[in-house]
Symmetry: C2
Subunit: 258 residues, 2 copies
């Protein structure tokens, strides 16, 4: 069976997609069979991996009862890494999900066969920002929530909000097994005190959750997706590549993926 | 009457809130009576201005038929700048709006008296990321859309998506007067070629829309909100302060606000 990791944070631009792409790629390269699911109608993970967006090529159909998730799986050029891409139809999901009964567990139902099968060891879900119904479904479908947290002032405030939602989903019985898998500090700026203060503060409140790997602010990490490349293809010796490689090791160990 | 400016971009972390705060403050200081509306349940504009969040203190009530928008107005320490703050209740808006008929024009109805009155010359609406019902309502209520666009690779792609939504809202008759007011290039990084290339590309496609003011990537702009201060209070001689001051001049001139 596969473990489902949802990468979420209602705040925008905190490195969810950059993490989804590079963590998935590093895990695949460490021979963990991985499925990346792009749930964002902006399809940044899809284009960041150099995968074509095609009309009808996303989980939109399956979430509306047309076809299965497995029908939408596409292989990538990276061994052990497959993707379910995103495309613009997903933008209609928010409104359409709200009109269904059981509107919080549609994704979990659609992913059930993949989660219970032996095809993948890990399923990574990249969420849009904002805690709309799409992200809520991704939390409803997850074994573990991975929070990408930018090393900036408002980080802790936003953290409180998403953890409250996690508790609500657990208490309401929507996803009693949902756990906070870990907190990843991103865009760590070595030149300022602020980054170190934010990391220290988050570690104080969540001592065993913060990953030891800190993702540095690095122009290379920002450039790689414009070539449709992972950081390991674009600049394998960069600080960003080293950090995501370390993170993959931590994740594989913490969640027993090998 | 007031002109309503909605600052939106479905992409996260592109500088919407930083722009909402500093543009509103600069316009107020230029004696343009301005109302800032924080529509994001994360309330970053509210706390970034050092305004307290209070339970029930947001547009959530009025959008659900309880009280008026005017009831929610709070003065700030900045002369000519008032705010309707945000608080966590707004998070429920997405689902609640979707269950109303006319779910795209609720905000416009609620803002009508303020827009038609003479209290304010400008109303600036700060949106959450993602094009959910909250942002769609803000587009439905706007005279002008101001797009904050980060100087990075995916900028143009995201732009196409939001402009498509603008056309849909116009063609569907939801907001036939909605215009793209302008595109603001943010987080311009002088050290890389990427920023310059992105600006050049956007200017090529939208020659009269891009504001001449480019907001530089500047640590000071990131730090100011942690003290609840505008950039003009925190570091009035910084490149960020100069840029937002210039933007305010451009906006006042382009939209005839004085
Ligand atoms: N460590 C980093 N250093 C420098 N730039 C980064 C880093 N991580 C991400 N970026 C860049 O910052 C921007 C936002 O990152 P990303 O798209 O991964 O965030 P996100 O949380 O997925 O955003 P959204 O909420 O819009 O989905 C992108 O342009 C990306 O290339
Ligand atoms: N020009 C800039 N230079 C450096 N940091 C900036 C700049 N503009 C904004 N920031 C910082 O980048 C982060 C994102 O900015 P901001 O909150 O304004 O974006 P946003 O589009 O409102 O995000 P969201 O989509 O989550 O609402 C914040 O930490 C902010 O302080
Ligand atoms: Mg993303
Ligand atoms: Mg914001």
């Amino acid at each position: 069976s596969a473990k489902v990791f949802t990468i979420a944070n209602q705040k925008g631009g905190v490195g969810k997609t950059t993490t989804a792409i590079n963590l998935a790629a590093a895990m695949a390269t460490s021979r963990v069979k991985t499925l990346l699911i792009d749930l964002d109608p902006q399809a940044n993970a899809t284009s960041g991996l150099g995968v074509d967006k095609t009309e009808g090529g996303s989980l939109y159909g399956p979430l509306n009862g047309e076809g299965t998730a497995a029908d939408q799986i596409v292989a990538t050029r990276i061994k052990n890494l497959d993707i379910i891409p995103a495309e613009v139809d997903l933008a209609a999901l928010e409104i359409e999900l709200s009109r269904k009964p059981d509107y919080l567990i549609q994704l979990r139902n659609v992913l059930k066969p993949l989660r219970e099968g032996d095809e993948y060891a890990a399923i990574i879900v990249d969420c849009p920002p904002a805690l709309g119904l799409t992200s809520m479904n991704a939390l409803g479908a997850a074994d573990y929530l991975l929070i990408a947290l930018q090393c900036e002032y408002l980080a802790l405030e936003g953290l409180g909000q998403i953890l409250k939602v996690v508790d609500q989903l657990r208490d309401a019985g929507v996803n009693p097994n949902l756990e906070l898998g870990g907190i990843l500090m991103t865009m760590f700026d070595v030149r300022t005190n602020l980054s170190r203060q934010v990391v220290g503060e988050v570690e104080k409140h969540f001592p065993d959750k913060v990953f030891k790997s800190l993702i540095p602010r690095s122009i290379r990490l920002g450039e790689a997706p414009s070539f449709g490349q992972t950081i390991f293809e674009y600049d394998p010796v960069s600080a960003g590549a080293v950090a995501y490689q370390q993170l993959a090791k931590e994740v594989i160990k913490r969640f027993d993926l090998k």
